[in-house]
Amino acid sequence: MNRRLIFVFSSLLLVASMLLSACAPAATPAPAAPAATEAPAATEAPAVEQPTEAPAMEEVALRWRTRPDNQEEADVYASISDELDAKLEGITLSYEPGGSESSSYQDVLKTEIGAGTAPDVFWIPGSDVGDFAKRGLILNLADQASMTDGFNIDDFYAGPMAALTHNPDTNAEGADSGALWGLPRDVSTFVLYLNNDLLAEAGATDPRELAAKGEWTWDAFLETAQKVRALGSDIYGYGANAWWGPYGTWMNAAGGGFYNADQTACNLNSPESLAGLQFEQDIYQVHDVAVPYGEDSEPPYRAGKVAMFQNGRWATPGTRTVEFDWDVVELPQGPAGDAGNWQFWGAYAVNANTAHPEEAWKLAQALTEADVQAKISSMGANIPSRVSQEAIDAFLTFTPPANNQAFINGLQDNAVAEGPLWAGSWPDFVSVMDARVSALMTGQETIDQFAATICDEAGKAFSQ
């Protein structure tokens, strides 16, 4: 056979087969409508009756994504996707885990949205909901929700739902606000992960006992941390990572917070916020009981060198492998009378450019059903976002830690829901706040210097 003929034939065959494989339905992402050129008005009703490209009875392919914390969780999500695939009539699901060591989940997602290749349904952190909604990147599901039998926003925790039903045009919140930006996947709170061996060695009173008696206060916390710190120069009483979550709790517990009441201005220089920050700065600079600010506290905690490590439920699966006796306790109560905990949450939102908004809404509902949330909770990484004693009871059975109730107490202790900044730019606000708090905690700035200019600087985020 002629060599040239073989070459031409082989090449054509190869190109044709590759083309067919690339164009096959399974390989093709759910077709998206043309990219929006302008952000739609926030209250603009989604096209509920928007015609889909495929006939009603035809199978609709949907892609969905969430960020698992580990491979086991990714496997659970994949199996849930398979189950829902079988359960949801006319919908074929494809699950994509997102995020890695070198690629931020949100940054990749935003890039894909810009390129028009993002999944139909995706998870976003609560603090991102405002930016996504204001730019028209996620669909307002209020109309679909109002036509869905049995759907009730009160089935979920109020904090996340207030943010998810916020209407930026009217500032209304709740079931009748005309806005619904997604459904919460789960919630979480902060606790202190305890190294009971270190606490016993230091002769400190068990924080769980103090908490049970209502005596777990800032003073008791500091005393405990100091006793542990006295064990050695490389042993620390307290550890937390350097982001807004941990330092925010000290501000909240003192009665302060990031924003004013209607979230339209900076509140970082209020006396209450400054009191919380002053206490935290003293932990690092005066009492020197904590892992240096800015260092990752998880490795020293896992190495048995930190007695109290502040973290969320997501740290539980990893902590289950440590070799010392551990448990969790609520955050200590501050001057305002509570622990100032956060209610962390993230939501399943629907891509504004999805070609199948109705099916995507069905998927978002299915992903937040009680049985699905129970399966994910069994991995120990989060708390179901549905308010139900049944869900809480199920959550409490997933031990260790023995004191799972501390997470639930955190939810009930006037927890401040992680919220999007509707009146400004959260990324701008947090970048200024993170840097200045870092300067404060590492002793580069005094609290007076911080107070003098922080809101001039961070307040610019409200004009963005």
Binding site: S17, T28, L137, A242
Partner: protein
């Protein structure tokens, strides 16, 4: 027979040329219509770029008609270029519209299934080639070739069957059977046919193409994938980013032209005298616009400098400081190590490989390992320091205090720590370059220097260093550019990225944060172009210095 064929062939060629003239006339008219559509249908400055390209192609096509009529070889060249570009454009647009590019991920997964069958094809190829050894036994050679061909084809078919997705056939058909896509398919075919018609040898001869011109065109054709790739994936995005820097694009909506606003915001600064060094910034500068950048005192008076975008200037300062630390640390040790590795001591080849290993390691992995080593509480570096000081104190009775370094969590040391890691990773590559440069220095010069009584240091200073001039400039330039663009180590090692207190915020990290986290692609593009100008200026200065003083080998 020949006399009968020639006129018929000539006639066919003339017909083809007539068709080509009509085709290019039609293209010119269609091109002008497309210019109008593009100019009225596309918003923003992009319409000028699109309309400009279409206008050039339309004019080129129009120019082709008289040139083909005159049988001018330039007409053939222009025609080939226009048809080639048209063919590629239609193909790319069609593939994009039918979703072929977004299905490549799935294709890659399927490809893995077929790889074993490709091995069968390789075996067939091997058998076929083996047959060439029997040139003196043609029958045996043919048998080998036949068997080889069959095995190759079988392997290929199996490979295709393994990777092919037959459900793609109806999908492809339904994707293509739409008006715009059908038009693109038709365009693809027409451009392809016209290219082929003009490329044919009889047409080339009639158009007066000689061998030299033909080879030139072939050369450009071979060059075209790379050149078009350069235009599409390098020059195109570069120009697009320049355009974007004059807009307020957030990566999702429209690009609204804002002129120099982004650059003005970047560079907008203020300056004021303070009544005392500790006077509050709010009292002297408008803090609703500016943030305090720094203060200084001169001749007993204190001043404050503010900037509208403080972080931009901080990122410039950090990047310059990073370069000042990382570049010397990456170059000077590399020169010394290169000198040692260039010697004829035993085991040098092994050490050359050892020093090169960090350069091939992935930045992400290396950064994570160094982050762990730098950990102030459980890191190996602090452990070594503490143990070392303990041992010294124990042996000498001294009471040297453990510094308990906070490598990545202190604003004083974080940038230095990252620079040390980057230098560690870069030294190996620079060493290899220096060794290569040293091996090009003629040995006779060292012999002459030895005869003149020059010692090792004198030889290094007066022979090695001057003759390494071009290599040194290359190493310095590439290391400097790399240092200006530092991103990954800072992104991974510092928490939050750029911290503590923005002490490691580099220009590229700041660009990334603006573009991908704060929804400001236009502003990020402006930062990118300022960075480009800074790097360009630094490179030009280096090259000028080399021209002024370096030894030319």
């Amino acid at each position: 027979m020949t006399t009968m064929t020639m006129p018929a062939s000539r006639s066919r060629t003339d017909t083809w040329l007539l068709v080509l003239m009509l085709w290019h006339g039609l293209l010119a008219v269609a091109g002008l219509v497309a210019v109008y559509v593009a100019f009225t249908g596309i918003n923003g400055g992009l319409r000028f770029a699109v309309a400009g390209v279409l206008l050039v192609l339309a004019l080129l096509s129009a120019t082709t008609v008289p040139l083909i009529h005159r049988r001018d070889h330039r007409g053939r060249s222009i025609s080939l270029v226009v048809n080639y570009l048209g063919f590629l454009t239609c193909t790319a647009l069609l593939l994009d519209m039918i979703g072929a590019f977004t299905g490549i991920d799935d294709l890659a997964q399927r490809f893995g299934r077929g790889l074993p069958f490709l091995l069968i094809s390789f075996v067939g190829y091997f058998i076929r080639s083996f047959g060439d050894r029997f040139e003196q036994f043609p029958q045996r050679q043919r048998s080998f070739q036949r068997v080889g061909n069959i095995i190759m084809l079988a392997g290929l078919l199996l490979f295709v069957l393994a990777i092919i997705n037959f459900s793609g056939i109806p999908a492809l058909a339904s994707e293509i059977l739409q008006p715009v896509r059908m038009a693109l398919l038709l365009g693809l075919i027409l451009f392809g046919v016209m290219f082929w018609a003009m490329w044919r040898q009889p047409v080339a001869e009639v158009m007066g193409v000689n061998n030299a011109r033909s080879e030139t065109l072939s050369g450009y054709l071979f060059l075209s994938p790379n050149f078009l790739g350069f235009l599409l994936f390098f020059a195109g995005p570069l120009l697009l980013s320049l355009y974007t820097s004059f807009t307020n694009w957030d990566a999702f909506g429209t690009r609204d032209w804002v002129g120099l606003e982004n650059y003005a915001r970047l560079l907008h600064m203020t300056f004021a005298q303070l009544s005392s060094p500790t006077q509050l910034a709010t009292e002297v500068i408008n803090t609703s616009i500016f943030d305090e950048l720094f203060r200084f005192s001169i001749l007993g008076k204190s001043f404050i400098v503010g900037a509208q975008d403080k972080l931009f200037w901080l990122s410039i300062r950090n990047t310059v400081v990073f370069c000042l630390i990382a570049v010397p640390l990456s170059v000077i040790p590399a020169l010394l190590v290169g000198t040692i590795l260039n010697s004829k001591l035993p085991g040098m080849k092994f050490f050359r490989a050892v020093y090169f290993i960090p350069s091939v390691a992935a930045v992400v992995g290396v950064s994570l390992i160094w982050q762990w080593m730098y950990n102030a509480a459980v890191g190996w570096i602090n452990y070594a320091i503490t143990s070392g000081i303990g041992a010294v104190n124990g042996l000498t009775g001294l009471a040297i205090a453990d510094p308990q370094m906070r490598w990545l969590s202190s604003a004083d040391t974080a940038l230095l720590s990252v620079a040390l890691m980057v230098a560690w990773q870069t030294i190996g590559f620079n060493t290899v370059l220096f060794v290569a440069g040293m091996q090009n220095i003629p040995k006779v010069l060292y012999e002459a220097a030895t005869v003149d009584g020059a010692g090792t240091w004198a030889q290094f200073r007066n022979v090695t260093l001057p003759l390494l001039g071009p290599t040194t400039v290359f190493v310095l330039t590439t290391t400097l550019i790399q240092a200006f663009q530092v991103f990954e180590p800072i992104f991974i090692m510092t928490n939050p990225p750029g911290g503590p207190n923005n002490s490691t915020l580099s220009m590229v990290l700041y660009l990334y944060q603006n573009g991908f986290q704060r929804f400001r692609q236009g502003y990020a593009s402006a930062i990118a172009w300022v960075l480009f100008l800074v790097i360009f200026a630094a490179t030009v200065i280096q090259f000028r210095r080399q021209r002024g003083g370096a030894y030319e080998a």
